[in-house]
């Protein structure tokens, strides 16, 4: 009976941790999380692998952990990719209806879409995802294409996510070396949105911000379309690094300080308060730093990050359309007060995300830092089913193209 439900494994190679989510999906598309394996990540900076040796060890540890916890054997997986090299943009492709009777055929739409994809990418870049935003026939949007419409011109609006092929291949090769097949690379941001947004959230429109260790991904999804997405190579590491530089601490102490005393908000009450740095096991007088400085450094970095996202989202769309609001996830979403800061900046309701419409260990699902791995596995499930909820008119060839 298990043979009918394929095992879905999502692997996220993050800057601070490597996380493998194992789940399965029943025939109704309901996803069940079986378990999560994780390991500390030592060879990744800003979302990109800088030390293959260590990263390979860490991947092995994370997958081993997942196998141990779930009692399954991982043979293939979906790999999440991120990093500065990932770029996202909206593209429009046009195609004139060539037939004499001006009847728009499926081929016309496909041609318009391929025109939209025929964009000049940087060399060695490859397209990761193209997501259909909308189809217009003579300027009028058609929601769900059914043949029989007449028109002169077909427009396909796509959201294109592309990245450096070598870097993606590097991670794929690392997993290949462990005799595990990579089904398909998935952009982390896209996967995260699938894990935490309910169909209602998607319909209303939602901005998902995943602040990880070294990168921050954001996806603005509305209906089935991705309105905007992107990556900034700024994450929790940067916050720690800022603290380390600003307060002249070691990175480890800065990290501890961030976790124990950090906040995204600076309120008047903390003025003049000082906190002790690190563990006092060396017998030396512990150093004390100003709590206000700590929080100011953190707050200004997080604010800047949100500002960058806001700028990008304001290109061509309005954030007001995200009626469901902003969903924060990733390890840095645990910083106290971060949702208040986000709400102030984005002017829409904000919440710390947890994985909905997924069954499994509730404690695990509530953790915002596992959302990406779970999302990758879930995204894999959608792919395997061959019917993505995002893009109903996606053709089979589009999907098969990924199974190279």
């Amino acid at each position: 009976m298990f043979s009918e439900a394929p095992l879905l494994v999502g692997l996220e190679i993050g800057t601070s941790k490597i996380c493998a989510a194992v789940g399965e999906e029943n025939e109704r598309g309901e996803f069940t999380l079986l378990g999560i394996g994780q390991s500390k990540s030592r060879g990744v900076r800003k979302g990109e692998i800088v030390d293959t040796q260590k990263t390979q060890e860490d991947i092995r540890a994370a997958l081993g952990d997942a196998e141990e916890k779930t009692g399954v054997m991982i043979k293939n997986l979906f790999l999440g990719v991120t990093g500065r090299h990932i770029a996202c943009f909206n593209s429009v492709g046009m195609h004139p209806v060539a037939s004499d009777d001006r009847l728009v055929t499926e081929q016309d739409i496909a041609d318009a879409a391929s025109n939209a994809k025929a964009i000049t990418l940087p060399p060695e870049h490859t397209i990761l995802h193209t997501i259909r935003q909308k189809i217009c026939i003579d300027g009028t949007e058609v929601s769900n294409f059914t043949s029989g419409l007449l028109g002169h011109k077909v427009e396909a609006h796509l959201h294109v996510i592309h990245g450096n092929a070598f870097r993606i291949q590097n991670s794929t090769n690392l997993i290949g070396a462990l005799s595990i097949r990579v089904n398909q690379p998935v952009f982390n941001g896209l996967a995260t949105a699938q894990a935490i947004l309910t169909p209602e959230d998607k319909e209303k429109g939602a901005l998902v911000i995943d602040i990880g260790g070294g990168t921050t991904e954001f996806v603005f999804q509305q209906g089935q379309a991705i309105r905007q997405s992107g990556v900034f190579a700024v994450g929790g590491d940067h916050i720690s690094n800022d603290i380390a530089i600003g307060l002249k601490l070691s990175l480890a102490n800065a990290e501890l300080l961030k976790i124990n005393h950090g906040s995204a908000l600076v309120d008047g009450l903390i003025h003049g308060r000082r906190v002790q740095v690190g563990e006092n096991d060396s017998g030396l007088t512990p150093r004390q730093v100003s709590l206000e400085h700590l929080r100011r450094i953190m707050s200004i970095r997080i604010q800047e990050l949100f500002q960058l996202i806001l700028e990008r989202c304001s290109e061509g769309c309005f954030l007001d359309e995200a009626k469901a609001g902003v969903f924060l996830c990733g390890g840095s979403a645990l910083i106290p007060g971060i949702e208040v800061l986000a709400q102030r900046l984005f002017q829409v309701p904000t919440q710390i995300a947890s994985c909905h419409n997924i069954t499994g260990n509730t404690a695990t699902l509530a953790h915002p830092e596992f959302a990406t791995a779970i999302g990758i596995a879930r995204y894999g499930g959608m792919r395997l089913r061959g019917k993505s909820t995002r893009s109903p008119s996606l053709r089979l060839t589009d999907i098969l193209g990924f199974f190279r």
Partner: protein, 440 residues
């Protein structure tokens, strides 16, 4: 004052160059007779005739024919150069020489650097103490600042009092004499402080070698002040006075100083606790400064506390002017292991003399196989060559003052990673630095 040390063990000489210097020295001798020889060197015989000092050195009678320097530092300098034997006679064997001069005139500005040079050449530690003119004396200001540069090159330490600064401490109705008197008394107090520091029997006695170690080979522009206080709270009062003294930039000069010479003098009732309290208070206010303290007693000061502070706030090479640079380079060529004495060529605007020195110094390199010897030139040609060389060195000056660009933002953990540029800004640089957030 008791001079416990015999003149032979620490032979100190005072030499005043010009009338202004003589006045200060006379006042100093009156208030605290040292017993050490002091002399008045001047270009003007009339001035020497009226001199309050007993030992006179007439400079450059063959040059100025007894008419003085006439406000021209060049004549002052040439006069001194022409009577080097007289100066050497007086300065021979000294270990510390105080050179006192009022800068701005012909004798003070011209001859004082020469005297300092001769003193240093005789192996002494040279402390030049000088006053600078008021701001409205434009021409004299220029002479004085040139003389200070030269003094810095020649002497081990230069202490200057700006009359303009003293002027700012007085109102418009002050009589000029009062102004100069104040300046003089300040210098006298400082001299006394230094003197006690070196010589008087003390609670905390510092050796001559301490001062030498501190000052020798370094050229410091120093800020200094002398204060006195009495009463039961005198230590606290003196510390406060020092920390708010206008000559120490109301204390900032002390706070930024690397080393501070502190001479504390009191009567027989001076207590070690007071000295402690004073140092404690100063050290608290100026945590960076290293205080070198000498404390001494003088029965005539009973009930009083005299404190003299000299803050050495900029240790820097005195070789700032291009000419000095040239002479230094020249002397290096001459003698690779340049002994301090050999670099003390008096910088001069007199082209003939410079030429002589450069000619003398350029001979060793020209004996090299690769460098041809200099061609024979007429005097006119020599001057032209010299002027062009001077200009060349002047143009090169900014190079020798290059500062390293330290405007590099720290990246910490992301130091060796790919640049993280977004619209021209580097996101790896801490945001608070880019936004100029001040963490005090």
């Amino acid at each position: 004052m008791n001079t416990t040390k015999s003149p032979d063990s620490a032979p100190i000489r005072f030499i005043a160059v010009g009338t202004a210097g003589a006045r200060i020295l006379a006042e100093f001798n009156q208030t605290s007779p040292t017993g050490f020889p002091s002399a008045h060197a001047d270009t003007d015989p009339d001035s020497l005739r009226n001199s309050p000092l007993t030992r006179h050195i007439l400079l450059g009678f063959s040059i100025n024919h007894g008419l003085g320097a006439g406000g021209d530092p060049d004549i002052g300098r040439l006069s001194a150069e022409s009577d080097l034997p007289g100066l050497r006679d007086f300065l021979a064997g000294a270990r510390i020489v105080f050179v006192l001069a009022g800068l701005g005139g012909g004798t003070g500005s011209g001859a004082a650097p020469v005297v300092a040079r001769i003193a240093r050449e005789s192996g002494a530690l040279v402390l030049a103490i000088a006053t600078t003119p008021l701001a409205f004396e434009r021409r004299r200001i220029a002479f004085a600042s040139e003389a200070i540069e030269q003094l810095k090159a020649a002497a081990d330490a230069v202490l200057t009092v700006s009359n303009q600064r003293v002027r700012r401490m007085h109102d418009d109705k002050t009589h000029p004499h009062e102004l100069y008197k104040f300046t003089n008394s300040l210098l006298v107090h400082t001299l006394q402080g230094l003197w006690r520091f070196l010589n008087a029997p003390g609670l905390i006695q510092l050796d001559f070698s301490h001062v030498q170690r501190l000052l020798r080979g370094r050229h410091c522009e120093s800020a200094f002040a002398a204060v006195q206080a009495f009463g039961s709270e005198r230590a606290h009062l003196a510390a406060n006075l020092l920390l708010n003294h206008p000559f120490l930039d109301t204390g900032t000069a002390l706070a930024t100083a690397g080393q501070v010479l502190l001479s504390v003098a009191g009567g027989d009732d001076l207590q070690i606790g007071e000295v402690e309290q004073l140092i404690e208070e100063l050290q608290t206010a100026c945590p960076k400064a290293e205080f070198i303290v000498g404390a001494s007693t003088d029965p005539s000061l009973t009930g009083h506390l005299h404190v003299t502070a000299i803050a050495a706030h900029s240790w820097q090479s005195s070789l700032n002017t291009p000419l000095q640079l040239a002479t230094k380079i020249a002397s290096r060529l001459d003698n690779p292991s340049s002994h301090p004495k050999t670099i003390d060529k008096t910088p001069s605007t007199d082209t003939g003399e410079i030429f002589n020195s450069t000619e003398a110094n350029s001979s060793p390199p020209s004996s090299s196989r690769l460098v041809p010897t200099a061609p024979e030139l007429s005097i006119e040609q020599r001057q032209r060559v010299l002027v062009s060389q001077k200009n060349r060195i002047t143009r090169r000056k900014p190079d020798s003052q290059m500062l390293m660009n330290l405007d590099i933002a720290p990246l910490g953990r992301f130091d060796n990673t790919e640049k993280n540029r977004h619209k021209g800004i580097d996101l790896d640089v801490p945001t608070y630095l880019r936004h100029g957030l001040v963490l005090n």
